[in-house]
């Protein structure tokens, strides 16, 4: 699904990755670990195709679409969670009609435990609630490849448990997840761990 070869990543004059290779196939849950500043975010942005000028090497994605979740939320504070997610669906070419879409969004918001907050403007939500709206995209995305940068940040403990379950489901149904986290990932599913910071 994703094939990286001979990646050399340099940022701010520092060599972060040297001759890095990675191959992610369906069903894999990849956890990228590393200390602060070891290049996790930079790597994920490169994988997503958002940053192209700070690395050399080849990155090939066979998946047509991917879901990227970075440090920035991509939510509009002046829209409600419902409206934010509706836009997400519309811009990701889900053409199954408005009713189906609304039902999906309700389900996604329920899955991230935001019932009762569907119609509050996002900038009136707490940090963790905003993060949850952002994570609700996981339940709406048909993308087989997920690139998640610290998805657990700001999420409370019960939230993290639910999230891990979702990630495992995604890989079990044939998707792939590449993620970073500073918290331990508690699951029985096999995890491919990659440690950065030895460049």
């Amino acid at each position: 699904m994703l094939c990286v070869e001979a990646l050399v990543l340099e940022r701010g004059g520092r060599l972060l990755l040297n001759d890095f290779s990675l191959r992610v196939s369906a069903g894999q849950l990849v956890l990228i670990e590393g200390d602060n500043g070891s290049g996790k975010t930079s790597l994920l942005r490169a994988l997503a195709g958002l940053a192209r000028y700070d690395h050399t090497g080849s990155i090939r994605r066979s998946a047509e679409s991917l879901l990227y979740l970075g440090h920035k939320s991509g939510l509009k504070g002046l829209l409600t969670p419902r409206e934010n997610l509706a836009w997400y669906c519309q811009s990701h070419s889900q053409s199954h009609g408005r009713d189906q879409r609304n039902a999906d969004i309700e389900a996604a918001l329920a899955a991230v435990d935001l019932v009762g907050f569907e119609d509050v403007l996002c900038h009136n939500l707490s940090a963790g609630q905003q993060r949850r709206v952002n994570l609700a995209r996981l339940y709406l995305s048909p993308a087989p490849l997920w690139l998640l940068d610290e998805p657990f940040a700001a999420i409370d403990r019960t939230g993290v448990v639910g999230l891990v379950r979702t990630l495992v489901q995604q890989v079990e149904r044939g998707g792939a997840v590449v993620m970073t986290s500073h918290q331990a990932l508690q699951t029985d599913h096999p995890i491919t761990r990659i440690r950065l910071g030895q460049a």
């Binding site: 991917l66 991509g74 811009s91 053409s95």
Partner: protein, 229 residues
């Protein structure tokens, strides 16, 4: 996946932009109020003599409209860049051309169009002769659309800069010059009783060119800005 049909996407984009704007109604009224306030500054700075004002009305109205558009353009992509919306936009399977077009269209609907509609009021306040009103409105209608398109290119190129500031005015004002010349020229001609058709035709030509090309430049600018962010 072939992507959703394009027209629904364009309209969804546009509706979203407008919805966002209506959540901050002041933002909508703002170009108008800015227009009115700055027009008021001219008699205060120059003097209230009606004859003088009438003579300068075309230039003043056009310059202030230009500034109002420029200032609104400046912040067109800023919030979206900072909150990560642009990042996500680049990752959608939709053609970026359309998204960019919808940004510009929304911008024009919220600044250029209202400015055009209220311009006659200000024109009367500045004693512009009534026969020049149609030319004023037509030239603003076409001209502000060009200003929005060109201004958005500047906005896209500068949005990611941490050390850029209001760089956009430097980049864009030179491109605004021809629009200003033909726009205020049209009104001046009409005020003197001549036909403003030639100038309006030129403005129309500029507009078609800008519609065809500007969204590509905007899209490229956004890609570069997100990449460097």
């Amino acid at each position: 996946m072939s992507g959703a049909p394009l027209l629904p996407f364009l309209s969804a984009c546009l509706r979203r932009q407008l919805l966002l704007a209506f959540r901050r109604p002041l933002e909508i009224a703002n170009p108008l109020l800015f227009f009115l306030l700055v027009v008021m500054l001219f008699p205060l700075g120059i003097g209230p003599d009606p004859r003088q004002l009438a003579e300068f009305a075309p230039g003043i109205l056009w310059i202030v409209a230009l500034l109002a558009t420029l200032l609104a353009a400046e912040s067109l992509f800023r919030v979206d860049f900072e909150d990560g919306t642009l990042e996500q936009l680049l990752l959608t399977p939709q053609p970026l051309y359309l998204s960019c077009l919808s940004y510009v269209l929304a911008h024009w609907l919220l600044t250029g169009l209202p400015l055009t509609l209220v311009a006659p009021l200000f024109a009367v306040m500045l004693q512009l002769p009534p026969p020049a009103l149609p030319a004023l409105m037509l030239s603003l209608l076409l001209g502000t659309a060009v200003l929005s398109l060109v201004g958005s290119i500047g906005a896209a190129l500068t949005v990611g800069l941490k050390r850029g500031g209001l760089l956009i005015s430097l980049l864009i004002i030179p491109f605004y010059v021809p629009v200003l010349i033909f726009g205020s020229g049209a009104v001046q001609f009409a005020a003197l009783g001549n036909s403003a058709q030639p100038q309006l035709l030129v403005l129309g030509g500029m507009l078609s060119l800008a519609i065809a090309l500007a969204p590509f430049a905007i899209a490229a600018g956004l890609r570069i800005s997100v990449d460097a962010g």
